[in-house]
Amino acid sequence: MTFICRSAARRLALGVALVVLAAGCATAPKKDYAKLVAAQPRSILVVPVVNNSVDVNAPDYFLSTLPVPVGERGYYVFPVNLVKRLLEDDGLSDAALVHGADPAKLASLFGADAILYVTIEKWEAKWVLVSTYVTVEFQYVLKDGKTGATLWEEHQKMEYSSDSGGGGLLGAIVSAAVTKASPNYMPLARQASWKAMAFPGPGFPAGPYRPEHGIDLKQ
């Protein structure tokens, strides 16, 4: 009898865990991945970030966080700094020019299957009385390197306020950072990209370097 009770409790706990897991990772509505699946990209070129915030350092800082989450999705990710420098040497030091260029031409220059365009919409901190509010907001667009068609896109906004009562582990990291004179946006920015690219979730299916490549969409 006790055994049955225990196993029931265990099952209940596991059920709760699965709900937590599902809620944490997969609440966004399903996206259409037909074009992405058809394009079968193996490699992603992450180009310099367009900045719509007033912080001039934000695009380079944010660019530094992008190779890890993209690479972890199982795609070859081009060396972001090398790519940035080559574009600059070619007269494309303005990220907006890069984003405005023909994707197919850009992709062929590097031999890339797809291009990830990231735009910073917000990167700001506000201080109201004793509270600090940090906001980052990004737009991510993945385009086909052959046709220029949009394969995937996602918008992420992350906010942190020092009076929101903890906010878990991330809250602790950010709050430690904002107690200093200038806030550190990096933990929030990183979190935004992980969230944006998570799959199942708002992200995109795994690439050829992940074991679930080709089967994660069918599950």
């Binding site: 706990a13 709760v16 897991l21 990772c25 660019l63 966080t65 081009f78 090398l82 420098r85 998570a198």
Partner: protein
């Protein structure tokens, strides 16, 4: 009884969303960030990339995509053409998707090495390495 199960559930939930990584990235993103923060600290930039490469190699892990190439380019900027080419070659071998770009980089570096040897350009006047081949 419930506590350990719950702890397991939390661990499961956390690992499902982030934590786990395929590659041994080491300090790669931190190194990039510091490079953009302090671009003149070339030593830290090269050392950080070398550290990431070494750590992955020593653990018998695959060096993450792009890291050999970044190191190669950093060394090219330092005028260490031969070392740069060897890292571009490694990137090309380990990551076939990089072939087109790495072949361009290797050709540029070789050309540069030729120019440097021929014209005896002093190290101090060497600018950043050549771009994607000029389309003229």
């Amino acid at each position: 009884m419930r506590a350990p199960v719950f702890a397991f559930a939390v661990a499961l939930a956390v690992s499902g969303c982030a934590a786990r990584t395929t590659y041994h990235w080491g300090s790669y993103d931190e190194t990039l960030y510091k490079h953009y923060k302090r671009p003149l600290d070339r030593e830290a930039w090269v050392a950080g990339l070398e550290e990431t490469v070494l750590a992955a190699e020593q653990d018998g892990e695959r060096v993450p995509p792009g890291v050999y190439a970044e190191l190669g380019y950093a060394l090219l900027e330092e005028g260490q053409t031969k070392e740069a080419i060897s890292y571009f070659e490694k990137e090309k071998t380990k990551w076939p998707e990089s072939r087109v770009l790495m072949e361009k980089m290797i050709r540029n570096a070789q050309q540069r090495a030729g120019n440097v040897a021929g014209a005896r350009i002093p190290a101090s006047t060497r600018g950043p390495a050549g771009a994607v081949e000029t389309k003229r």
